[in-house]
Symmetry: C2
Subunit: 431 residues, 2 copies
């Protein structure tokens, strides 16, 4: 764990290092991924079967080897305990309600010259959702990725998920049923992403691919960006906690560890103006870790990437630090969190007040938990309905409107040397 | 030129080939671009100076070699002819007005349990705009890229443009002045994109990079996607014209050539239900070409990629063909263009009616002319204010709200094996 103080002479350099530390894998999988994508594009299902045998020890022979049918997903849902089923249903309902509010409005306006112009939004035809097979196979992630697609109006929503040695996580299947997923394919890795983008004999291509994955999946999405739309380049999770000394050290330690338990590369940062509180929290982390089944991952993350920054004045100093870090999650535990929030420009999602642990946003609050990591909140946003939609603009002129604005277009087209552009207007104006 | 008829037995195969023909460079510049980006990242200005000497025959020594100052841009603007200045000003005013209407609304809602949730939009701090040095150095493109950034509220808007042998296009400088560009750097190629993304001693990094460029520039943007935000992967321009037999063959030929003159790889497609009209347009293309200074490019494009598709019934057949092509521009020249438009789901921008040549949208209508090409309208949209903004979601709970929804989150966290997530809620609920 790193301990910094903004009043220390070495602070600026140490903070710059913290900001520039991306914590992302440098594993160079680019060439291997390209070979796999080319293979899937050229040989389709045959390549998928070979690669799935090799990487997942799973034979794709019968239809049931390839695809999980709707009845199996429904069965997984019916087999949930009543409490878990109710929790999933509450989460789905709240996520759906919030995302309904993201649906964009069309525009259709006519100006004083009679130039009609506007924009019409529509859903993509088909979307693919990658669901990891291992540690990160979370039903909550399935809901957070699938529900915005369905709210957008996507007619065909396809899940791909590896089934190592034939195993598929029943909680994921239950969530797929609840979210209205249309197809579930038992494939994973770069080959699954390639199949979604290019299509194969069995699998029809999709237009957008979303969802988390390992370095191979992320690189496959990156390479296919432009062939299909993708959600984002995702890195390890992170939280920035801004807390005064009036907080419970136990709560604060629990909050920091809830991020740390995701991944050894995850990062938890605490900014506080109370040095005694900082010490108490640091001590409390050890107590909390002793209680956690996920202690191995959480302690590796906290020991390697955990940071406590002491400042003299939260309102005066924390916003600038937060904006430089542009963290995925920012939790503000003060009496007036709104005042600090007003000064924070770059963050994926903000959790306001002492009773808003980030974890509640991971599951049931409503806003999406798929958020920009690694300082990408400077330029990108969490997953939304818009990721599954696109806008077609339109214009319509009559003779009067063209007479009003056409000559300026002719002037500009000629200045750019685009004579045919100018001429397509001139012939209509008779000039 | 390719001539197809939906009633011919070979139509389906020929149309599939047309749809899958991406017309994009397969030039493999990926490795060279990676070397350049690594060099700029490691050596900054020294690398820029070397690469600019090599590729642009331009020495970066004095400040004036590096940067075009504001006074020079203003001078270029003041030197415009009155007609051209008025045309640029009209274009800028109309583009600004339309894009003002794209600014998204914030959300701030509280549900019956007392869970507050919402989303707040903000501009990125800085955006970079690539402006090509050669054939495609268009002042209209500068306006279309720069104005949405300024409307979004971007405080620092940086143009990079190569100045081969010291030359910079004065029209581009004039447009930069008009659009309120903050810095103009005389660098180009992958090295300029790298400088914008990573920053150098002289050039501060930006958050988003937009604008057209050659294969090297496009590949640099693709490789840096995730380090910065980018607008899109752009390919050659294209138009789909849906026209009945009641149109002027002269106008229609001019419309088809206005797209063809952009680039030998550009594509113009006409769908019509009138075979005689189709023949007349095809003949008229030759007449028009003879008048065009841009005939060399336009005829290469038309001969190689131009296509006329004859259908039996426009309303019944054209929408499905248009949706499969998902063209950048779709022009509908019929008496009731709206009826056809209602059935078109995938298009970058649609131009309605006989008096709406696509060229008017390139310059002065208002909507953006930076649009998805190569069937990407299936999943992406034209450039907009949103490309320069990002959304921060937020939630806020009090004790009552956490008691209402927290237990479901605990249930889900435990099911996912994320004990610390569960605990961060449990400690607050005292359970």
């Amino acid at each position: 764990m790193l301990r910094l103080n903004t009043r220390d002479p070495g602070f600026d350099a140490a903070f710059r290092k913290l900001v520039s530390d991306r914590r992302e894998s440098d594993e160079n999988v680019s060439r291997d991924v390209q070979i796999i994508l080319d293979d899937v594009r050229a040989r389709g299902d045959a390549a998928l079967a070979e690669l799935t045998r090799k990487f997942d020890q799973h034979e794709l022979a019968s239809d049931a080897d390839w695809q999980v049918d709707a009845a199996t997903c429904r069965e997984a849902f019916d087999n949930l305990t009543p409490d878990l089923r109710a929790a999933l249903e509450l989460a789905a309902k709240r996520i759906r309600a919030f995302h309904e509010g993201q649906k964009p409005a069309d525009r259709d306006e006519t100006d004083k010259h009679g130039v009609r112009m506007g924009a019409r939004w529509g859903a993509v035809d088909a979307a693919g959702l990658y669901v990891p097979g291992g540690r990160a196979a979370y039903p909550s992630s399935l809901l957070m990725n699938a529900i915005p697609a369905k709210v957008a109006g996507v007619e065909r929503l396809v899940v791909v998920t590896p089934s190592p040695k034939g195993q598929v996580n029943p909680l994921v299947l239950a969530a797929a049923h609840l979210a209205g997923v249309d197809e579930v394919w038992r494939i994973g890795g770069a080959q699954a992403v390639g199949a979604l983008a290019y299509g194969t004999e069995r699998i029809k291509p999709v237009d957008v691919i979303v969802g988390p994955g390992n370095a191979w999946v992320a690189e496959a999405k990156r390479q296919l960006y432009g062939v299909v739309g993708i959600d984002m380049v995702a890195g390890p999770s992170e939280i920035l906690l801004i807390a005064d000394g009036q907080n419970s050290p136990e709560w604060t330690a629990a909050d920091l560890l809830s991020q740390a338990e995701h991944d050894p590369s995850a990062q938890s940062i605490l900014i506080t103006d109370d040095p005694v509180f900082a010490d108490t929290v640091a001590d409390r982390i050890g107590v909390e870790l002793a209680m956690l089944p996920t202690a191995r991952v959480a302690s590796e993350s906290w020991n390697t990437h955990g940071t406590i920054i002491e400042v003299a004045d939260l309102m005066a100093e924390a916003p600038a630090l937060a904006n430089a870090l542009a963290a995925e999650h920012v939790q503000i535990a003060t009496d007036d969190p709104q005042a600090l929030f007003e000064r924070i420009r770059h963050a994926g999602s903000v959790f306001l007040g002492r009773m808003t642990p980030e974890a509640v946003g991971d599951y049931v609050a409503g806003p999406n938990h798929v958020l920009p990591t690694g300082r990408r909140a400077r330029f990108s946003s969490g997953l939304s309905v818009l990721d599954f939609m696109k806008r077609t603009s339109f214009i319509q002129l009559d003779a009067k409107a063209l007479k009003a604005v056409g000559p300026a277009a002719v002037e500009l087209a000629n200045a750019e040397g685009l004579t045919a552009h100018a001429r397509s207007i001139e012939v209509r104006l008779g000039i």
